[in-house]
Symmetry: C2
Subunit: 356 residues, 2 copies
């Protein structure tokens, strides 16, 4: 036999409908689109619902309508505060909309990513935002199966699943190194932590620039699989100094590394930028207020999240998204830490890059 008794206290559409003297479907319509119900009934339903303390059941709604208003968001890390800016953009865009966000953390693992994608799929999400372009074939298949708008964020790649927004990490790093070269630096070190795909691409940009300049030397590259941190910046810089004592500039694949390098220089009484120039990546808030102020590559993370979310909503709601691959560019924020030797500090930030 099936279930026995209906709980007495439970409030469903039916109860509200009974009290309001209308049919359940009218109450349903009222909650989804009040304008489709006549004003008189509107009031009756509203007060009945309030009296009974009615709360819609999302599971029933999803089952009956065969869709949800859940947006799945997949990021590789909660620690890396680069993602908090992107997330802020995403949450801000969905703010006040009917969509809710399901956030999951791949920990930089494509297998985790696959697993989480499969989990999302069970929810029949209305849209998905995933990080990067390095999904496995299986992962891509799962996303396709979800049959909903998808945006890949953080970087650009050749074969979008659906939509894409980001910038070229290769170009961004290339621009930063070019800036250092223009400042007269020759022995430019590369410091990288975690070495996720995007940091790898920054390294690629570094190598391209250095090779073109005829200055490439593998001893100038110091990396670690450990996550980025200020302390790690100091360590990597110390390693670099052992391997290449004649280094005259350091590019850091993350800003916290750059801050750590600055502190390490202070500890060692190395003058910045006179003896060593420093450039970071992402332009976190503290870079501009450091002493000396730290040059960095600004990436438009908040806007990336905001627009990714907007693209999803436009697509869901039938507004055609024509620009399906968006290059947000970057800006090299030139500050004191990378000023030409013996040159005066600039009056204000100077920028170079794309899209500014």
């Amino acid at each position: 036999m099936g279930r026995k008794h209906i709980k007495p206290g439970k409030v469903r559409l039916t109860e509200v409908a009974a009290l309001a003297g209308v049919s359940p479907i009218t109450v349903s319509r009222f909650f989804r689109n009040p304008d489709t119900v006549s004003p008189g009934r509107r009031l009756r339903i509203e007060s009945a619902a309030k009296d009974l303390g009615y709360v819609p059941n999302l599971a029933a709604r999803a089952l009956a309508s065969q869709r949800t208003e859940v947006i799945g968001v997949l990021i590789p890390s909660l620690t890396n505060n680069v993602f908090s800016d992107v997330l802020r953009g995403i949450y801000d865009a969905f703010e006040g909309s009917r969509y809710s966000i399901q956030l999951a953390n791949t920990r930089y693992s494509v297998l985790q990513e696959e697993r989480l994608l499969r989990l999302f799929l069970m929810q029949k999400p209305a849209g998905m935002i995933v990080t990067g372009v390095d999904q496995t074939a299986e992962g891509r298949a799962i996303v396709q199966a979800a049959d909903c708008p998808v945006v890949q964020i953080m970087e650009l790649g050749p074969d979008p699943i659906d939509m894409m927004i980001g910038f070229s990490h290769v170009d961004a790093c290339f621009a930063a190194i070019s800036h250092l070269l223009a400042q007269g630096c020759r022995r430019i070190g590369f410091l990288g932590a975690r070495m996720d795909p995007r940091v790898q691409r920054r390294l690629q940009g570094y190598q391209n620039a250095m090779k073109i300049a005829g200055l490439f030397d593998p001893r100038l590259i110091v990396t670690t699989a450990v996550p980025t941190s200020t302390t790690m910046g100091g360590s990597l810089f110390s390693d670099l100094m052992l391997r290449a004592p004649d280094v005259d500039a350091v590019f850091c694949a993350n800003d916290d590394l750059a801050l750590g390098v600055l502190f390490e220089c202070q500890r060692r009484h190395i003058a910045v930028p006179e003896q060593i120039a420093i450039v970071g990546f992402n332009d976190m808030e503290f870079m501009a207020s450091a002493v000396p102020s730290l040059t960095s590559v600004r990436t438009n993370r908040y806007e990336m999240g905001l627009r990714a979310a907007t693209m999803i909503m436009d697509e869901i709601e039938g507004r055609p998204v024509t620009e399906r691959v968006v290059d947000l560019g970057f800006q090299v924020m030139e500050r004191q830490s990378s000023q030409q030797r013996h040159a005066v500090a600039p009056a204000a930030d100077r920028v170079s890059g794309t899209k500014w």
Copy 2:
């Protein structure tokens, strides 16, 4: 009339069951708890499901079972990286479990909080984690109605909704000020941004300590409603210097303010700690590697998230949670920036506080 035709390509439990030659309920059992199905059928079901590309429908599951495996998490900010540590703990704890997290952002608004709580309620969450103790009466009522385990995190208060984990912000700040007083500081400034309830409580701790010492002076307090940032630290410190030029120490309600104060001191050629001692709050990673290293109050944010999540799971799964209010304490990490005037730096961090 109701719906017409059943889509042909759709794969449900029924289809898997037919292919495997068992009844649907057996397939259902297999997916929820494989051990309750005999090994032979287990294999048949598994391969049938794979062949058909079956994906369980969470909405149907939730509707039929009258419960979900969603944990609602409410935090006030995505920008404040204090919360990324807490979140990391929460996500780590639920990692690999069947629960999924629904994260929402109140933006420090109790009305937003109410709205989001109401939204959670529609999902019939299995548990909820909310920030702080300042919910409105209405907010508390909604949470009660959810009828699931609830943990309030970040601080302790008199009247828990259900469970609670955090520490006393009043005591933590009191301890930090006591440390400065012990170092011989007398004109201790207070710098605070955002001024959310927890920062207010830190201010209370400051006032308590200063009044007891007979050193309270309202001119030493500089606050702003603007969110915390390194740049803001510099501005607030500049304000403080105008209002109280004789200040000999600064307590910053957040670490990024403290970093900003350090930079501002460097800019003004003020010696730290000789002329001005600096103490921060939260002990973010960069505090220990700054030059000079910056004293801060360590708060156990990761553990807070981890344990909050564990408490929820224990409660859901019927493991009795006896310690329903957990004081995680704090530690004053004494570093160079608050060393006694003319004293030598400590060989290593020294700590004072509770629970260490």
